[in-house]
Amino acid sequence: MKYSFAESTARERVEHLVDAGSFSEILGPVERLVSPHLAQLDTPCSFDDGIVIGRASLQGRRVLVAAQEGGFIGGGVGEVHGAKLVGLLRLGLADRPAAVLVLADSGGVRLHEANAGLIAVSEVMRALLDLRDAGIPVLMLIGGATGCFGGMGLVARCADHVVMSDVARLSMSGPEVIESAQGVEEFDSRDRALVWRTTGGRHRFLSGDCDALVEDDIAAFREAASAALAARRPLTLETLEREHALLAARLDRFGDCADALDIWARLGIADAARVVDLDVAALRDIARID
């Protein structure tokens, strides 16, 4: 049976991603670590504050897992939510798992708890980089309907390895924010084809911001995560400088492009407009920015 990653809840994603029955939750709903801020704003809480964290195994290897629930306040990072994620990442330093999997499904900082959320996101980045420095890979799995935006978008690009489905999106600013700031002529947030062309899995894969592109299927994410367990990107001055050079070259080569279609054409893709209709498998065979 095929489980749509996008349509599943965070808990369902974890259940079907890791080895059957191997998931052991930390700070689960029974603990009732709910947001102190939402109650004050007379807004419903969630028992797990919208994030599921715990230990599991993947192909028999020990991993830590965090999965954000995009259906709860857009997966926004609040104080408790953020603390659970930071805590899990720090636990990795002690536990030394084969990898830490973060199933990101978030619009970024939870506006109801803006300051706490912002602090949490910065702590997440620090903890993630500490993990990488300690030689423990962090894999971002992005496939929810909410996408991975804002502070979580930045977090994603701090990780060793990013896996996206073609329905997923990864960016910093959300479509509406871009439209507000730059005007509708520049970016019409209701033009969903444009939004996905700009922030979606296909473009991120072709432009090198995503390492693996999969179908919207939990099994496909499992396969990609398993394959990436060995994918470590050492955090050295050398790798950072190389990344900078890559980004500069990319900007140089495509900086004047107005639309992803132009970028794809310039990549040498024969019929750029058909990219959005191609199967994921077909796309993988296309040359991308390395």
Binding site: M1, Y3, S4, E7, D166, V167, R190, D191, R192, A193, W196, G200, V276, D277
Partner: protein, 551 residues
């Protein structure tokens, strides 16, 4: 006595137009820039004017031109139109150009329409169902002038209305053959039309418009929006009604509930072994949600009221299923499709806003005059019908079961499908329809009921199915309705003993009674869960309009 005054008057109007326009009238062709002058010349105060406001397409350029007439010259027009869709339609009343209206549906303009009626600026003759309105064009509401829209026209006035033919043939037939004048706005003026949908002899003027005429994709439903509850209700409909009666010929009212049924055919209905036993023939617009069922071989024929934007190529490549011309494109026809739905279908199923204790169904809400569209016709028992079918006979037999020996007859299945609570926890079941108050507010002769309780055979909610055919008294009918009204005030006030009894008799059947496990009602049962899935299912032939492209 003079017996041909109409003919003479028509000739006089055409003569006037020829004189006024001079060289600007080339045969039948008039430029867009001269449209206002043309209308001002051929239309006279008090005329009955049929303005093509269809369900989907609108003669928007001509409507706009009409609003630019001088009300001192042309006033008190009596507008006849299927649908009040555009602001310009109501501007005509604000501007004093039109004063009377006969129509069928007003959807988005319902609130403004109510205000204008309240302010005494519109005199509504009546609200009709589509086929009823077309019928009156041939009796007591014949248009003097018809303002229509077409895809293309040629020098002889031949028109190609193409996939969105809709109401045009009915309107033009009545107007052209009773001394009226037909003016068409076209998207393009061509040497030869791809096929002749309206013969040139019926058309007086062809006006190329600066923009293609307005069309809306009203029947596209994104599967991503279908909820688990809607999936459950679709399962109930398929197993509890379609399978039960062997429904081979049907019409679906517009909505997500029916889209869920369409998407469950290749999956859930297939698992019940129903392929070939239900859903072969449809009176239906080309719903994208029907694509998976068509591809899986469920559907033998579909006749349509109109087209659906984005489905043109798919229809072309599925000519075995759809009605297409020798040119390959769809030919739709609202009048004939409404007739098909009335007489040649065994089931109508649709949603509604309110149902009362007698099963009367209404979409009327306070402060809006929305009208009915096609539902009263589709959702009415066809008492003129004479041919039998298993579903029709079974329904008719159930209605007569246990009654003193009477003349056997069949009955059409009319199902109202609704969640017990709508948005903002507004109950769908009420003791008194808002329609009563609306009638008073708007000065209507009777409450605007969309489908009468006498015609409703089943009411389906997430709580189960109430079979009104098996009810033997008004009290039983009331309790059967309360029995599926869930936790609404109407539902909570049920007579528990009576409802249990009705359930024992099979008058009320819940999911469990039908062997349906509610936990199976998940979105993974849908044959397509997104717009992209629909495109894939169509092999890339379906091309959704921009607003639905979300990948």
């Amino acid at each position: 006595m003079e017996w041909n005054r109409g003919r003479q008057a028509r000739a006089a109007r055409l003569q006037r137009a020829a004189e006024r326009l001079g060289e600007r009238l080339r045969g039948k062709r008039v430029d867009g820039a001269d449209a206002v002058e043309l209308l001002g010349t051929v239309i006279e105060s008090g005329d009955r004017v049929c303005l093509e406001g269809n369900n989907q397409k609108q003669a928007d350029f001509l409507a706009q031109a009409l609003t630019q007439l001088d009300p001192a010259q042309v006033h008190d027009l009596h507008l006849l139109q299927s649908v009040i869709a555009l602001p310009s339609h109501l501007d005509l009343f604000d501007l004093g150009i039109a004063s009377k209206l006969d129509f069928s549906f007003s959807g988005p303009q319902g609130a403004r329409l109510a205000k204008l009626v309240g302010a005494g600026r519109i005199d509504i003759g009546a609200i009709h169902t589509y086929l009823e309105l077309f019928s009156r064009y041939f009796v007591d509401l014949t248009p003097k002038v018809a303002l229509i829209c077409a895809q293309s026209g040629d020098a002889d006035g031949n028109l190609y209305t193409g996939p969105n033919t809709e109401d045009t043939p009915a309107i033009v037939e009545a107007t052209a053959f009773k001394g009226g004048i037909v003016i068409a706005q076209v998207n393009e003026f061509v040497d030869t039309v791809p096929r002749v949908d309206i013969p040139g002899g019926w058309v007086d003027f062809v006006v190329p418009a600066p923009r293609p005429h307005f069309i809306e994709p009203l029947f596209t439903r994104d599967p991503a929006q279908i909820s688990e509850i809607q999936v459950l209700m679709a399962m109930l409909a398929i197993k509890g009604i379609y399978a039960e009666y062997g429904v081979q010929r049907l019409n679906h009212g517009i909505g997500f509930d029916t889209a869920a049924i369409e998407l469950l055919l290749p999956t859930y209905a297939e698992s019940l072994g129903l392929k070939g036993r239900i859903c072969k023939h449809w009176a239906l617009n080309p719903h994208p949600a029907l694509i998976p069922a068509i591809e899986a071989g469920w559907v033998e024929s579909v006749h349509s009221f109109g087209s659906e934007l984005g489905m043109e190529r798919y229809v072309r490549e599925r000519s075995d299923v759809f009605f297409t011309g020798p040119d390959g494109s769809l030919r739709s026809h609202r009048a004939f499709c409404q007739a098909a739905g009335h007489y040649a279908c065994d089931l109508f199923i649709g949603s509604t806003l309110q149902i009362d204790l007698a099963g009367n169904s209404s979409t009327a809400t306070l402060g809006r005059i929305a009208g009915f569209g096609g539902a009263p016709n589709m959702g009415a028992d066809a008492r003129g019908r004479r041919h039998a079918s298993p579903a029709w006979l079974k329904a008719g037999a159930e209605a007569r079961q246990g009654r003193a020996q009477s003349m056997p007859r069949g009955q059409k299945l009319v199902v109202q499908m609704v969640e017990t609570f709508r948005e903002h926890m507004a109950p769908a079941f009420v003791e008194t329809l808002d329609a009563w108050q609306l009638a008073e507010q708007a000065g209507m002769a009777i409450p605007p009921v969309m489908i009468y309780g006498d015609d409703v055979t089943h009411i389906l909610t997430e709580e189960g199915i109430a079979n009104l055919l098996l009810c033997r008294s008004a009290e039983e009918r009331e309790q059967a309705i309360r029995g599926v009204a869930g936790y609404t005030p109407v539902g909570l006030a049920r007579d528990r003993r009576m409802v249990e009894n009705l359930r024992d008799r099979g008058v009320i059947r819940r999911a469990e009674d039908l062997g349906i496990d509610k936990r199976d009602a998940t979105r993974s049962l849908l044959a397509a869960r997104s717009m992209r899935d629909l495109v894939k299912a169509s092999g890339g032939l379906y091309e959704p309009p921009q607003r639905f492209r979300n990948w």
